[in-house]
Every structure is written in C-alpha cells, then in structure tokens.
C-alpha cells in the first residue's frame, strides 16, 4: 500500500520531495478521479502521495507594479472573488468548475495535471503566465508554455514543487474567454478560446489568441500574433482571411466521445473570426 504524507509547510513538502518521489496532490478533484478504484476502497495511487493542500503559506494573491502572484494553494474560489485578479481569469474559473470543485481545486493543480481540455491553461497561456518552482535548494522560474510539454506531461523534476503563478500585468483594450462545452456549465470543454488585444491610435499594439482542446497542448503562436501587431485595425480586419489561414494549420483537433474534429476546427475558426471582426478602433 502506498503512503500518504500531509505537508503543512512548504519546507516540510520540499524536504519530503528531496527524499523520494511522490505523487503530488493539491485539491484532489482531478487526482482522485484519475486514481479511482471502487467505492469504499482506498484511492488507487501508483506511488506515495504528498498532500500539499494544507500548506497555508502557499495560499495567497499579491500584486506589485509588474506582476500578479497567485500561490499554488490558492483555491479557485479565492481567485474568483479577488478584485486583484484580471476579469478574464475570474471568468474562466466560474466557467470551468462548479462551486464544490472551486472550493478545493487550485490553478497549480490544473497546471500539474496538464490536461489538454483544461480551460484555465488557455487563459494562463494568453496572459503569459510564468511559474515559480522550488526545490529544497533551488528556486527557478519557467514560462507555462515551456513547462507543459504534452498531454499530461510537465517539466517538473521529482524534487520540485510549483509554488506560485506569476502573471504579468498587461494593459489590454479588451480580452475574453469563451468556453465551448457540451452544456452551459460544469462540463469538460469540447474546445475553448481566449483572446485579447490593445489598440492605440487605431494601431494594433498587442494581439493574443489561444485555443484549448484543439491540439495536445494549448495553441498560442507568438509568431502569428507578431505578423499582425502593428497593423491598423482596418488592415487587420481586411486581412481576416490571412489570419485564419495562419492559424488553420495549428488547429489539429481530434474526434472523441465529446465532439468531432470538424466541429472543433470550424468553431475555433468562427471564434477567431468573431474576435477579429469585433475589434474596435480605440
């Protein structure tokens, strides 16, 4: 039978991780389902478990002039209620999880789980989220997009723990998240979409688009965005077909029990089109 260790402080957790390899469990809302056995039986973890949900020092939301910092243990509900958090992130939280899940689940848990259908990742990619990762001896920072390497694959050493999310403050004219689920709440997405832009003097200064569940990881292309930044709003709209053509090859969804590739692709492009068409000059 595998062990379960409850860490109450960061140091305790890091020391444990330094000692041996653990399955890290935060809120547990995904991990318990992924490791289910049967009613009344122990959770069927494949290795020893380190529970980090009770480490209070990782439960915080802070800001400075440059960034917003969200502790790894900050519950989704706290994020939803915080005025410090950008609206788009609060929107994704309310769309992605029911209250029962929001009260225990965390963004860091979502990131650690790296599900291709994880809605929060789409927005975190859009916002250029960075992670602080600690081991007993070292603290490092990594961009979320470099941290997630594939379906349920992350670049985390076995002695490391995600300790905080760092979200740069950016000034967007508008940004939003659109979840396309099989129903209006509490369901895994067929696909999801996040976008944002800023305009100054009718010129596009920033343009960001991210798609979820249309590829093994979130799709966001700095390269494509860069091509259109600097254009006037009118030119951008006139170039709508070019934008669509640029994204088209990046959107490679699959068929599964939730939806099919044709729908996912079609809707991803519709959402992109709708976003571009609705960009406003100042």
């Amino acid at each position: 039978m595998v062990d379960g260790l409850i860490a109450k402080s960061l140091n305790e957790a890091l020391e444990a991780l330094d000692n041996k390899e653990y399955q890290i469990v935060a809120g547990g809302t995904d991990m318990l389902i992924q490791n289910r056995s049967h009613s009344g039986m122990n959770i069927d973890y494949k290795k020893d478990v380190l529970y980090i949900n009770l480490i209070d020092e990782l439960d915080f939301i802070k800001v400075d002039e440059k960034n917003l910092y969200i502790g790894a243990n900050t519950r989704l509900e706290t994020i939803l209620e915080s005025k410090l958090v950008p609206q788009i992130l609060r929107d994704v939280v309310i769309e992605m999880a029911s209250p029962g899940i929001r009260h225990t689940a965390t963004l860091a848990g979502n990131i650690g789980n790296a599900s291709p259908a994880g809605d929060s990742l789409v927005v975190l990619y859009l916002l250029d989220c960075e992670l602080e990762i600690k081991s007993l001896t070292k603290t490092r920072k990594v961009l979320l997009k470099d941290f997630i390497t594939g379906v349920r694959k992350i670049a985390l050493n076995k002695n490391e723990l995600i300790t905080k999310l760092i979200i740069p403050k950016i000034n967007l004219t508008d940004c939003y998240f659109h979840k396309v689920g099989p129903r209006l709440s509490d369901a895994i997405s067929k696909l999801s979409f996040a976008c944002g832009y800023s305009v100054e003097n009718s010129i596009i200064k920033d343009l960001r688009v991210a798609f979820g569940a249309v590829y093994v990881t979130v799709v966001r292309s700095r390269e494509v965005e860069g091509k259109f930044i600097g254009q006037s709003v009118n030119d951008l709209k006139a170039n709508l077909d070019d934008i669509i053509n640029a994204y088209e090859p990046l959107i490679k969804p699959i068929d599964d029990q939730r939806s099919n590739r044709v729908y996912r692709k079609n809707v991803a492009i519709n959402l992109l089109r709708e976003f571009i068409e609705n960009i406003k000059e100042d």
């Binding site: 039978m1 595998v2 062990d3 379960g4 260790l5 409850i6 469990v25 809120g27 547990g28 809302t29 995904d30 991990m31 318990l32 389902i33 289910r36 009613s39 009344g40 039986m41 122990n42 959770i43 973890y45 478990v49 529970y51 949900n53 009770l54 509900e77 309310i94 999880a97 029911s98 209250p99 029962g100 899940i101 009260h103 225990t104 709440s185 509490d186």
Partner: protein, 157 residues
C-alpha cells in the same frame, strides 16, 4: 498508522487510517453518516456534497488528507441548525424534493450559497447549483425553494 483529526458536525474526531481515502467513504463507513450519497464518484453530481470550512465540496473527490485539522459538516450536522429548518421548509413547500437522492447535496449547496450571498438572484442560484445534478425536477422547483429560503431566512444568513 497515520492519525487524522478534524471537526465533524461540531465534534472533534480522529481517524486512524491511511490518508489515501475519499472523505465520502470515511463519512459513510467510519461514522455511518449516510446523508452524503455516492451518485457518480467523480465530482459531477454533487450528491456527496458536504461543507468544508462552511463551503460546499464534493466528498467523493476530497482526500481524507485534506480535511486534517479542518471542519466538516454533513447534512446530519447541518440538520440541527435553524438555517436548515428554513431551507427544509422551503424545499417541502415549493416541491423541491422528488426521489430525494440529490436533496441533501442540494441543501448543502443552498447553505453554501446563502452563507456567502443571502439574497441571490435567479442566475446566481443556478450557478450555485451547477455542480448538483437532479434528474427528477428539472430544477424549476428547487430554484423556487431556494428563492423562498432566502426570503424566509432574511437576516439569518
């Protein structure tokens, strides 16, 4: 054996077992609290809902480890409160109960909502119930029950 202590329905309790268990199993088997039900076993239906530090959680996807030192209230504990009486009367009056399997979870969701937002609008109620599935009622009368509870319990939350 690890020892996990928490407050359960106002009493301090200790569980001597692995932390790798679902809170739902601990409640139903170790404490014979069968008000929380297993409907789906994966956080989708809310029949297993309990209050963790006064907020709704799904006990089927809460590890026992995560309640160490925390406070859990199940429907059995909550049913001793004045708030429960108001919610119960409202559900009874407005037809919010059919087969009853989702009902304890619905009551917990109602308490969690009203505790935070004593005067919710229709949309807020629907969002608050979005993790509690009911197959019998179409939710219409449950929504009306909660509206009534909020009204009748004005000042209590």
């Amino acid at each position: 054996m690890p020892k996990i202590e928490f407050k359960l329905n106002d009493k301090l309790v200790t569980v001597h077992s692995t932390a790798n268990r679902r809170l739902l199993d601990v409640l139903r088997e170790d404490f014979n609290l069968t008000g929380p039900k297993e409907g789906c076993g994966e956080g989708e239906c809310g029949a297993c809902a309990v209050l963790l530090n006064h907020k709704i959680v799904n006990s089927c996807c809460t590890p026992l480890a995560n309640v160490d030192g925390q406070e859990i209230v199940t429907i059995e504990g909550f049913s001793k409160t004045k708030r429960y009486q108001i919610i119960k009367d409202a559900f009874a009056e407005m037809g919010g109960v059919q087969c009853g399997f989702c009902t304890p979870g619905m009551v917990i969701a109602t308490e969690s909502l009203l505790n935070k937002n004593p005067h919710p609008n229709d949309e807020e109620i629907r969002i608050a119930l979005s993790g509690n599935l009911c197959r019998c009622t179409g939710y219409n009368m449950i929504i009306k029950s909660i509206q009534k509870a909020a009204k009748d319990g004005d000042g209590i939350w």
